[in-house]
Symmetry: C3
């Protein structure tokens, strides 16, 4: 069974870069934050200003933005071969080591929504702080079909 969710409008980049770039079948999504309607749903560090449950919610909101970006650039996922890697940055309190539980909220959403195409490798890094004082930043790379092996830029 595959999740059905309404995806948000993909956020615009906050600088002089592209939200998504696809070249030769490799796609990259710029770092996505837990933005809803253009605003961070929370700021601060997981394990301090945010609880584990609030961290998971932030991870899900950022993951929805990742999906929205990919949907926009792969003809509604039709040319998507599948995710490659999810890189996760978690602004973490000292002594908070439960990043995997936080990030499973994003991983499960990808697999629930995309099935096999949503399977991915993952890296998790705790950082002291993130741009905009966001609790979470998610970075995704993906592979897509040859008809999209040319530059597709926002």
């Amino acid at each position: 069974m595959v999740l059905t969710l309404d995806l948000p409008k993909p956020p615009n980049p906050v600088g002089a870069y592209e939200a998504v770039v696809i070249r030769r079948g490799v796609g990259m999504v710029s770092g996505q934050f837990p933005l809803r309607d253009g605003k961070l749903i929370a700021t601060g560090r997981v394990g301090a200003e945010l609880s584990l449950a609030e961290g998971r919610e932030a991870a899900q909101v950022a993951a929805l933005n990742v999906l929205a970006q990919i949907q926009k650039h792969t003809a509604n996922f039709e040319s998507l071969d599948g995710l490659l890697r999810l890189e996760c940055y978690v602004a973490s309190a000292d002594g908070f080591y439960h990043q995997p539980q936080v990030l499973d909220a994003a991983s499960e959403l990808f697999v629930g929504y995309l099935g096999n195409k949503g399977q991915h490798t993952r890296t998790a890094v705790s950082v002291h702080q993130l741009p905009l004082n966001s609790p979470i930043e998610l970075v995704v790379s993906f592979a897509c079909r040859p008809n999209h092996w040319h530059t597709a830029i926002d």
Copy 2:
């Protein structure tokens, strides 16, 4: 001369993701830690709880896990074209700037074991702390031959 080493059993992921994903000739290995027999060989920061030599040993143990993951998914390295990048996260004490010496222990192991296929680019980032309070996390991407240009998931 190429190193011969017994590789460990590749560790399982600690969350809802895959250890290795290969799509269209691009392979990704999830963040590997200095786990031996399922346990971290050390915890804490290099330059504080760990000496430089202990940091190098942790880098080698994590690197062996990287090799074990790739071996499992490339038919014993037969379809491996070569490594692309080694991304290194080092939990570091304030004022510890010798990450390159720590990480050369991993880089030298890759080239010693795989020869030209082990050559790679590298990035090093100091962080305050890592998941599980690990001193080291190694993330590797690689290229592999066309017969493996389809999804190969654990």
Copy 3:
């Protein structure tokens, strides 16, 4: 209009790795620092030891080194398909959240110099400290044409 700039000599790696690796059309550049003539133009954290303007200058100098590395390995950019991703690590003072402004200095240089081929996705991570006590580390991946789909190692 495209910028014309004299690119520096690409810096050598500071460890047992390659400056650039290209395999199967995917190119990776090792982490580049704001080195000029072999020396960091500044050390410390943006928002503390460095102002925002000094951080931007450091980002530009690191970006020139990225371009120099790619130029050397793509026959003067002839086989370059285009940049994929710019990953940015910024050593940041507590409470400094203006990484996007710092990094736009690098992004604008890439697009100014390479035009459409310079368009890229971007990630920004604040860290406590970087190797060599550098304020900035830039990591770039790129796609290139099939005639370079084999290993090209420094």
